[in-house]
Structure formats: structure tokens, C-alpha cells
Symmetry: C2
Subunit: 452 residues, 2 copies
């Protein structure tokens, strides 16, 4: 295998990874997320990606696309062996046209670099998933990554005007160009977005940008209880205020992350909202005033960090801090309809308690998107068993409340087969028929994003 | 056929339409767009739609979903016979939850009614395709309809949180609920949006709404030439101004619609921009000032209509006025990348002249979306032939400039097979495989939205 691939890519760009290679892991550190890649390849261009895919298709070898490796569901790990195709060398900025609000970059460009290119030109790339330094724009598109600012600005897919993809059996296909509207064919681009490498491999992304808002103002709002916090978020919506972000941390989470908060957390706080408003200076201040008016009755304290980015850096660290408390965690990314958020969080708490686990939750509250987490000792099999049993109940709860088993982290390997509890049978069948149309040999990221 | 269908729906809801029935036409009045429906059925509920689809599937009879009949490409016309399934009786507002910014309505509710329900509750349903009184929200979703305000707010699909659809062989399937983020399965919802009744029949739509902007300010900007007008639109983008709408009318169009303009068109005007800015009062005024600053050098006159809706009513009338000039027109909805708009319009003019036709163009300039039109005597076969030959050249031009053969009107029957000039072969094949997955018998709106 490797000798063929070395002929295609040059010998220094094909490795046989050791079992403990980072290419056999992702950021989930979850039990069972262990790759056994036969080869890791680092193509230099979209054409080389297509050539690798063609070789895999000719030789019946699985191929797993991999971005920054920051995924949390095992999506980029070769659980069934084969080739891991890392996009890290596809780092060209193909076009940056600030006057037309657009940017075309190859898949391996980091999300932070995309954000920076936009900002340096007076524009904004709005999606802000965690780990933006490491994560790559191709992976963001392949998982339809979100982040706090998706509340106002939408997820990654909202900003993808077009994609270049390597499709089976091994050719580069353009899906969508720079035409700003297009209904000439079925929306294949939206199928690829969020498909987690199971339909094709995204090699370049054409992104729409927006003029950067003049001002952003962040607020941290501390409340006594979860019930009050969830009610407060609904009050914000009901008041017709549109924050650019409205995240939350529950009391357990707050305890753990208080130490890194750039300020002091009131001791009686049992819930916190992390909000941001933006726009022109006048608009942002008007929205800030409206938010404060809605929230001031219930709040213990409302703080305004001088620098919003510092707040989001703190927020971005939750995952690591919570993991550090006991060395491990099992965190599930679920969505409740926003009006069921309080109920969902309360019942998740009960689930954790019933399994003897310490639970906590944070996430994108305005969208009902919760990172529901239990702390574990990663060396304790019984605890891991309990955590998985709790997750099982959480998924059933989510579906029963009309939500989704994943909002932004994807299905990957860890949630394979779970769509069956959420979708009608005919829709599951169509999910599978679409997979078969794009990947008749089943070699693109096998075992991932399975419907049942 | 009709007796079976009458048993399903009641005899008063199944008709055998005469050849000249409005159900055998659409708003295009184009040659060849003539249905020969064997039956028109008017189901009362989503369940009845599914039952009709099941009957058609059991009996190998084509079924054509139909909304308000305002389409311009023959999409809702039974060109191959069979059953026309009109959604006009599905008019229930299933849920209106202003505090959660959402609305669920059945497919037959008019777009104007959706807009009104939102507005009466302090919210906005942003998409504003033409003919909103007649057109229905199900048809808007099935064609992914646009309109002037799509520039800032996106097309219909951007606001569709979920769909209820009747899928072959005859069952109701929910695609997407109220979870605001969801990456649990492939994006089937986006496939149905814009599928023009060829993948399934949309029976209800779950819509996201936005808080209504406090103020909207419209501006009409008259310029001397097309070149100056197109340059002005690029200047607006380059200045980082974000109008909610930026439509245009070229000189020929202006001449025809001047009579209905609520004001007076300067005689030397050869191009007009119809712009709107919105937001808080302060923001809208700031954006207005920015627009005027960008445009004042090139403009002959900048007028501010007291009531923006009056401007958009005028705009909505272009189609009818232009049709009236010679009794007929052939109008094609194409998209150029916005920086190629001037070139596209100029070359379209040359195409018309070469075929001895009077041409004109208007559309959504900020998106490069052009309704490129030639006037014809509808009784003159040679003129219709010339118009079709001109359209042929226009499509080739569009594709050569990196645009799309349709931005918002869809493929329908008139543009069937044309995707082949725009997409890679593998993408065409996937378009067809998706059709086969959803509709293995090929009975859902046969002959429409064909890739080749």
C-alpha cells in the first residue's frame, strides 16, 4: 500500500503510523476512539487528494479525511484501517477579494487564519468553533461546525458559497461557484457540508464574508439557578433582542471554570450567561441596554469584560478545564428546542445522579445546544460504562423532547446508528441511499455517520 | 382515475380540467408550457396529500405538486399528464410562537399571509418573492424563492427550519424540527428545498422569523449608464455597506416602467438602483448616509420614497408592465458573479440585437441575479424562435462567466437538461441518483428539473 502511495505523493508524505500516533486519535479522548490507520498520507494539492482517493477506490482501501484533529466524535479516525488523508498541507489562500466580501481557501487553512484574513480586510468570518487555532476550515465545513456566534450568524454552512471536493471514484468536482444564488440543481453543496468525510473529501472552500460590525459588547450575567437562567434566555428572545451569542454555563461548570474567569464569580451564582451584542456603536449599545433591561431583575451581577475576545477565550477553555478535573469526561453535544432547555438540563442532571456521576453542562443556550458532560476517571471501566449508559438515556431524552442528538460535533463514530431514534424510516433509507450514490463501495470514512 | 381519487378526497375535490384550465398553465405564458392534467385534486390535509401520492405510486400515474401557480418555468404544470395536486386547501397556521420567533404553516398559506402574521407580532419573514399575494409558502420552499431582500436576509431556504413532506411511495416524513442546529443526518431538508416537486411534496413548513427591524429606508438612484450603474453596485459592496436590497432596472426597462413610478424618472436616466437599508433608526440612517456618499458622484438623482413598500410594489409590477408592451416576453432568470454583471448585461444586449429583438433587464443586482428579457409578439412563431435562440446564447454566456442558469425561478420544464452545461459530469450523475433515490418510479413531477 505505502509504496504505491509513495509513488503518488513522494516518499516523505506517506507514513506508517504507530498505534499511538496522534493521527489515530482525536480530541475526544473517548474509549474506543482508536484508529488503526495503515497509512497516513499528506497530499500537497487537491489533485493529489483526488489521486489518493482514486487509488483507494481502485484498491478497495478505506480513506478517512482528516483536518485539525479537533473532532470530538471519532469522525477523523480510521477505526476500520486504511488510509488517513490529512489535509494539513493544503494551505493555499486561492483568492481574497475583500471588495466582493469573499475568500477561497484550501481545506487545510486554519479557522483562525480565515478569521484573521477577514478581519485584516475589514470583514468578518462569523463562525467561531472552539479550537480555532488547530481546526481547519475544511473540517469545519465537513462537520458544519458552529460556535457561540452561530446564534446570530449561522453555522459554517451558512457561509459556504461553494466547495471543491474529491468525489469517488477519484475526481475533483466543483459544487457551487461565486453566483450568489443558484437553484439550477439539487443542493449537493449542503449535502457535503456536515457529511463528515463520508460522501467526499472537501479540498477547498469558497466563503462569503460580511462587513465587520463596528463594535461588539460582551456581558457575563450571573444568576442564582438554572431555572432562572433558562427563563432569562427565553425572556431575551421574547423581548426581540438579537444577541450575536448567548452561551451558558451551569452551576457545576461555573465552579470548575471560576478559577480561570477574568473577574470573580459571585459565590451564590448557580448559572451564568455569556452574551454578546454587536453592530454599529449605537446599535450595540442599544442592544446592550435592552439586554440589561430584560436580565437585571433576575441577575445577581452583570459584568462587562473590557475585551470580548478574552471572554470567548475563557469560554473556549471550558472543555480542557472540565476534562482536567478528574482526568476524563464524557461530553455529548445535544440540542433541545430552546423552550425545553430547562427541562432537558434538569433531567440530564437526574440521569447523571442516577448513575452516580458528577454532571455539568454548558453550551449555546440561545440555540438549545448543550454540551452535556459527566466527569470520569478515564482508567475506570465501570465509570466509563456508567457514563455511556447515561449518554444513552440522554439521547432518548433529547429525541423525546423534539431535539437532536448532535448540534455541531457530528455523528462520527461515537454516535453511529443513533439517527434511527430521531428520523422516520423513509428518511433513514434516503440517508443511506445518498451515501450509496456518493460512495458505492463504502470506502469513504466507513463506519461513520451511519444512520442505523 | 378520477373515481378512485374521489373516493379518497370526496367528489367535489377532484376535477377533470379542461385543456385551457388555469391548472394547465403558470405565470410564464411561455410557448410549450401547456399541461394536460388528467385530474386536478385538492386535498384538505397533509395526510390526504400522502394518500394521493400513494395512489399515484400504486397506479404509475405522474403527480405534479402545485402552489399558487405563479411560477415562470412550467414547474407546476403537468406536461406529461397525470394528477395535479394543488396545495391550496392546506391553509392551516399550525403554530405561531412569536416569543420563540417561529411559525409553522401548511403549504397553501400565501406568502403575504406569512409576512403579515410575522409583522403583526413584531417579527419579520424576510423573503419577499414577487406575487406574494398569490404565491404559497410551500411553492416558495419548493423553488427556494428569493426576492429583493434576499441580498441581506437570504432566500426562502435560509428560513426553513423544518419541512413536512409527502415522500414516495406515499408517506409523511418530517425533515427537521425546532432544534436550531442539527447535524445528525445528511441535510435532506436542503435537498427538498428548491427541488420543485421532483423529490417529494412539501405539505408544511416550519419557519424561523426575525425581530422586525425598527426602520427601513428606500432609495431610488438614477444613473446615466449601465456601466456606471454596475460600477456603483460594486462600490457599495467595496465600501462595506450592507443594503437589505439592491435591485436594478436598465434603461430599456426604465422607459417601460416609468409611467407607474411614484415620482418622475429623469429623462437622461439610463439605469436605476432600488436600494433599501434597515435596522434601528440610527443604523438605517447611518447606512443611508453611507450609501448616498458612495453613490452621489455617479448619480443623476437620488430619491427617497416616503413609503418603501410603495417602491417594492412598483418593482413587483415590472414583470406585468414589460409583458404588456408587446403582449409577450421571454424572460430568463440568470445569475452572473456580481463583478461580471456589467459584462453580462452588455453581452445580453448584443445577443438580443443580433436576433433583432428588443431586450431589457432588471433584477437583484447586488447578487448578480438578472431577469434578462426580450419582448415578443406571442403570436409570432419566428419571434418566439428568435427569443429561444437568444436564450440559448444567454445560458452559454452565463456559464462561461461562472454564473448560473437560474437564481430563483428554478429549472422547471423550460430549463430542463440545461444543468449539463453548468455542472461536472459526476455532479450531474449524483443529481440523477438522488432523484432516483427519492422517486424510484419517476412519477414526481416528471420531465422537470432534469439534469440532462
Amino acid at each position: 500500500m505505502c509504496s504505491d502511495l509513495r509513488r503518488l505523493l513522494g516518499s516523505e508524505h506517506v507514513h506508517e503510523p504507530p498505534h499511538d500516533s496522534p493521527y489515530n486519535r482525536d480530541a475526544s479522548r473517548r474509549r474506543g476512539v482508536e484508529g488503526r490507520a495503515d497509512a497516513v498520507v499528506l497530499p500537497a494539492s487537491a489533485e493529489e487528494v483526488a489521486a489518493v482517493l482514486r487509488w483507494c477506490y481502485d484498491n478497495d482501501v478505506p480513506i478517512v479525511a482528516r483536518g485539525g484533529g479537533t473532532g470530538l466524535t471519532g469522525g477523523a479516525v480510521a477505526t476500520e484501517g486504511g488510509v488517513v488523508c490529512s489535509l494539513e498541507r493544503l494551505r493555499e489562500v486561492r483568492a481574497l477579494e475583500p471588495a466582493l466580501w469573499r475568500l477561497e481557501v484550501e481545506a487545510g487553512v486554519s479557522t483562525r487564519h480565515v478569521q484573521r484574513l477577514a478581519r485584516e480586510n475589514g470583514l468578518m468570518f462569523a463562525p467561531d468553533p472552539g479550537a480555532a487555532e488547530q481546526s481547519q476550515i475544511g473540517g469545519n465545513a465537513a462537520t458544519n461546525a458552529g460556535g457561540p456566534h452561530a446564534l446570530k450568524y449561522g453555522v459554517t454552512g451558512s457561509w459556504v458559497a461553494g466547495l471543491e471536493t474529491a468525489l469517488a471514484p477519484g475526481e475533483l468536482v466543483q459544487l457551487g461557484g461565486w453566483a450568489r444564488k443558484d437553484v439550477a440543481g439539487y443542493d449537493l453543496k449542503s449535502l457535503l457540508v456536515g457529511s463528515e468525510g463520508t460522501l467526499g473529501i472537501i479540498t477547498a472552500v469558497r466563503l462569503g464574508l460580511l462587513p465587520a460590525p463596528e463594535t461588539a459588547i460582551a456581558l457575563v450575567v450571573f444568576l442564582r439557578t438554572r431555572a432562572e437562567g433558562c427563563e432569562a434566555m427565553l425572556d431575551v428572545l421574547a423581548a426581540g433582542v438579537q444577541p450575536s451569542a448567548l452561551d451558558f454555563a451551569d452551576g457545576e461548570t461555573l465552579q470548575m471554570v471560576a478559577g480561570s474567569y477574568p473577574g470573580s464569580v459571585p459565590p451564590e451564582a448557580g448559572f451564568a450567561l455569556l452574551a454578546e451584542v454587536d453592530g454599529t456603536r449605537a446599535e450595540a449599545h442599544a442592544q446592550r441596554a435592552a439586554l440589561v433591561e430584560v436580565l437585571s431583575d433576575a441577575a445577581i451581577a452583570i459584568e462587562e469584560p473590557a475585551e470580548p475576545p478574552a471572554l470567548w477565550r475563557w469560554r473556549d477553555g471550558f472543555n480542557g478545564v472540565v476534562t482536567g478535573v478528574r482526568g476524563g469526561k464524557v461530553s455529548e453535544d445535544v440540542v433541545f428546542p430552546v423552550e425545553r432547555l430547562a427541562e432537558g438540563l434538569e433531567r440530564f442532571d437526574e440521569i447523571g445522579a442516577r448513575h452516580g456521576l458528577r454532571s455539568c453542562a454548558w453550551g449555546h443556550g440561545g440555540e438549545g445546544n448543550v454540551h452535556a458532560t459527566v466527569l470520569v476517571d478515564p482508567a475506570s471501566e465501570p465509570e466509563l460504562d456508567a457514563a455511556e449508559a447515561a449518554a444513552e438515556e440522554l439521547f432518548a431524552l433529547t429525541v423525546s423532547l423534539g431535539g437532536s442528538i448532535t448540534g455541531e460535533h457530528g455523528v462520527g463514530w461515537l454516535k453511529r446508528g443513533r439517527l434511527a431514534s430521531q428520523w422516520d424510516t423513509r428518511a433513514l433509507e434516503l440517508h443511506e441511499l445518498i451515501k450509496a450514490a456518493f460512495d458505492p463501495k463504502g470506502l469513504l470514512n466507513p463506519g461513520k455517520k451511519l444512520a442505523r
